[in-house]
Symmetry: C2
Subunit: 583 residues, 2 copies
């Protein structure tokens, strides 16, 4: 076994090409060992094994610097740079994160998880090198799926003007998370089919030097290619064809399903655990809209599965033109939504909250300034979303709630979500965003709220002395608090579900002054700049006491949602205690 | 005179080609009449005259829909679609805005002023048309300078997959606001020099159909080209070469200076009014940094003049690699800044606040998550920035203040700016953004604050009963309020300049509880989610009364800054009155 002797790139350089091949096989086995037992990004990493071995054989990391786009394909890099135990031994599986992480290793340049960033980050490293008069190699590794993002394209453009060492590796496995979308992929295909010789070449269109390698799993060819560009004095694109899921036949055959997932049985790919039943609330609402409104268009940006439009289901709607995947290109999706609404369609654009950060300007300027009635689904924001610091979205309220014209709604249940969705997709006055929590309760009671009455809050329970404002997903906790306060203090308190995050129900807030002394707000996002502080401001010059609860300002990571809430004082026990202390 | 008979596109269609040429000349004269007297975007509009005449001759607006990128080149379109008086008669100059505006005319699709949006917006109009089973032409007009923006590139990519009518006109005048930057412009030049036949073709790289026209001022050729693609069944790029400033020799000769400006004498281009002395505070700080720190890099995104690096000054620093213009590509500039800081450089990226909206994700994920010590200059935020709804930035605090790791500083004077800049560019711990108001006072007193003490506020004046927190540029008003309160109530109040917007000085805030009863906050941005509400939240469960002042939530436009403040209660008179009512 070679891998056991590999503690860093210097050990790789001692091997022969034939030994490198064995090392690659051992690396692949280590990958499969961990991912089959602990889950993770399968396809992207299996496709990067040989390239990573060759990179570390030819280049001298960490002096030479490699930036992995998204960095979900950096597991082989981790295995080869001193972190193999995290892939070989179950007790160390959680020693490393799923993305590059400078806190783990000097071989990792950035903590990243968003797509399309590597070329620009590498350009920055290159400029930093230049002003320090050094000459190390700077390498960006970016998948074909990441090329559709504006930041990657801006990076390619500036690289086309830049005139010093920069090596951009396009890891082309002909696949995004789902299938690729965009004109780029037509011409990448032409390049693959002509061994890089086709005339229509995006990279050359950006003024870049270009080379093609058809077999990204041939270590000898990879080493030769990398040797040929090592210390090159200008930017160059190395377009390398790889196979996503390489080495696991079922993963190679079904690249979308095997992008990432949970533990599985290696022999046949069957899952080790039942995946549980997927919540189809969002999907059902979208499907019903498309089936009943021929002018409706559902847009997504490279994450169709986030909306439930998995393979086998979306094709029918793609064909009818009603389901649009623009590729990883949220800016385009948001602006298109504005245009569709302007020209008589009913657009719904939905994606995960952290990725909506990429389209702030289009949300504000292209959509809301024009006040066009598009619906935006903000998926899994707050603590019940993804829990990696690379993918958290604790500031969705700060981002969106202050944008003029936008109505930002927070459902507390599936029934409310359905009614809000119905409102959003039938009204023609304003853009509406819906904050869709990762988990929604089903109350069994139909919501008949008229959401056209802007900023009207729902009083879940009318009481006295204390009013609890709970944003969306926090309503069930607020009800539990109220129940316990009733039991312990024999006090019936008021519970308010604001529904609207983009403005206050001033009439209701004023009425509370009559027989309430304390308002408590609870939200599952960052406290600073959040919903609750607007309530505190409203009551600032009155006698009402206000206590805001939200999450502390930090890039929280690897957290348990309920524990993080509790650490920030958001638990039934703590808030009941707070109320007891006040009365 | 033909123009007097033109009240809309239907009147243009009655003319012969020779008459169209005369109409174009008259349109150009109308343009020059207005801009020479009232200022505006000169170069972009002079270059669009013939193309706009031909567009309205061939296509049927508003059924056929034209989206102008940035829309700063839409004056000829306004002249030809019923709004000529605004260009012919001084008393009507202000009847129209400088950008397209659906409230003015059914021929205007969107209110826009940000760059790179037209292709995506047009794609949206196209999809809206499709689901309505109509077949009008959808046309995007985008300048070469706008092509470097991620949104435009994402749009080109999706257009390469889209399969129905869409006409993308690349108005190539070989110029952004300043010179173009990026590899795109090398290959656009090759295309211009080969009459569109060069091999390296970005548009074909995106899988798009393509045609070239060398003379974008030849109406006959323009009409023929447009006729040839009218009702085309797939997306096509029309690459049309025009001359920025066409018709004014001095504007043609100096395209950067004549992008936009104030009134001028037509005969020789001399300005009608003295421009006044430019404030060089920001420029001086940057120049000094570059001259004294060889590892410093100043980045901008297509707006070098915003940093004072005008033509004749920047070349020296461009040559040394210390001044980088990435073109209109804020995402790339922000990510590069993170990379430069990571690799031992001292990056400063500065641009206008509204354009920083385009790089929210890179600010949060690429820069702040990695906690790299880059300096970001947020130019002209708040009410003292640009005052068009297309270009306002009243929500910079909401955008940036909640991002973890970032230090967001608000200078109240030139001296504070200089000291903050010094701190930001010498510390190595965190990203620092500085909120640079459009106008800064010079106090004459050097600022020696140690800004490494995070969240430490400055007590400008220690008093009792009332504490005024004034964000940056509002400090002088707060001092005036204090003076008047002293005069009228014989009460010395406290005035606090928070310096830091990303956190509270809790020690100070707690100490105020001892002998203060009212805290008033004043900021020049949106009230909701702003700085003041965080103070209200801090005091929410105490006896301190808090009154927050900020700007109401709306896309305010064409406002006078002081009047807008006053409308929101932010005036010496009103706040003194508030204090008098309380005591």
């Amino acid at each position: 076994m070679y891998l056991e002797k590999i503690n860093g790139p210097e050990d790789i350089k001692k091997l022969s090409i034939d030994e490198l091949k064995i090392l690659a096989d051992e690396t692949r086995k280590a990958l499969i060992n961990k991912i089959s037992n602990a889950g993770g990004h399968i396809g992207p990493n299996l496709g990067m094994v040989e390239m990573t071995v060759a990179l570390h054989y030819v280049f001298n990391s960490p002096q030479d610097k490699i930036v992995f786009d998204v960095s979900h394909q950096s597991y082989p890099h981790k295995i080869l740079t001193g972190r193999k135990q995290a892939f070989l031994e179950a007790e160390h599986f959680h020693d490393v994160t799923g993305y590059t992480n400078p806190l783990e290793s000097e071989h990792d340049m950035f903590t990243i998880g968003h797509t399309s960033t590597s070329i620009s980050l590498a350009l920055g490293l290159a400029k930093g090198r230049d002003v320090n008069h050094r000459d190390e190699n700077i390498i960006a590794v970016v998948g074909d799926g990441s090329l559709s993002g504006g930041e990657a394209l801006e990076g390619l453009d500036y690289a086309g003007e830049y005139d010093k060492n920069l090596i951009i590796i396009i890891n082309d496995n002909d696949q995004s998370i789902a299938e690729n979308h965009g004109g780029i992929y037509k011409t990448l295909k032409e390049l693959r089919e002509t061994n890089g010789k086709a005339t229509n070449n995006l990279f050359k269109g950006f003024g870049l030097d270009y080379r093609y390698l058809d077999d990204g799993h041939d270590i000898q060819k990879l080493v030769a290619l990398f040797e040929s560009v090592k210390n090159i004095g200008h930017p160059i694109v190395l377009h390398i064809h790889t196979i996503k899921g390489k080495g696991l036949p079922y993963a190679e055959a079904n690249r979308e399903s095997w992008h990432a997932g949970g533990p599985f049985n290696v022999e046949d790919g069957t899952p080790k655990f039942n995946a549980g039943v997927n919540d189809t609330t969002v999907f059902d609402s979208l499907k019903n809209l498309l089936d009943t409104n021929s002018k409706a268009v559902v847009l997504n940006a490279g994450t169709p599965m986030g909306l439930g439009f998995v393979k086998g289901i979306r094709e029918e709607y793609v064909k009818s033109g009603q389901f649009v995947d623009v590729g990883i290109a949220e800016e385009n999706a948001m602006a298109m939504s504005s245009g569709i609404a302007k020209n008589g369609g009913t657009p719904v654009f939905g994606t995960f909250a952290p990725f909506l950060q990429r389209t702030y300007d289009q949300m504000s300027h292209d959509l809301c300034l024009n006040d066009n009635p598009a619906t935006i689904l903000v998926l899994s924001p707050g603590v019940y979303g993804m829990n990696s610091n690379t993918h958290i979205a604790l500031c969705d309220i700060q981002m969106f709630a202050h944008i003029p014209n936008l109505i930002y709604l927070a459902p507390a249940s599936k029934e409310e979500y359905r009614q809000m969705f119905q409102f959003a997709t039938t009204q023609k006055k304003h853009p509406v965003a819906i904050r869709v929590p990762g988990e929604m309760v089903e109350t069994g009671v139909e919501d008949t709220t008229d959401y056209s009455i802007c900023n009207k809050n729902k009083v879940e329970q009318q009481g006295t002395k204390v009013a609890l404002f709970a944003v969306g997903v926090m309503v069930p906790m607020a009800m539990k608090i109220a129940k316990q306060v009733k039991e312990e203090l024999n006090l019936e308190i008021t519970v308010i579900n604001p529904h609207f995050l983009t403005g206050l129900d001033e009439e209701l807030l004023n009425s509370l002054k009559e027989n309430h002394e304390l308002v408590i707000t609870i939200e599952d996002g960052e406290l600073m700049g959040g919903y609750g502080q607007t309530i505190a401001s409203f009551y600032g010059d009155s006698n009402m006491k206000v206590k805001n609860y939200g999450i502390s300002k930090a890039f929280h990571t690897d957290f348990d949602a309920d524990k993080l809430l509790e650490e920030n004082g958001i638990s039934v026990q703590n808030i009941v205690k707070e109320i007891k202390a006040a009365f």
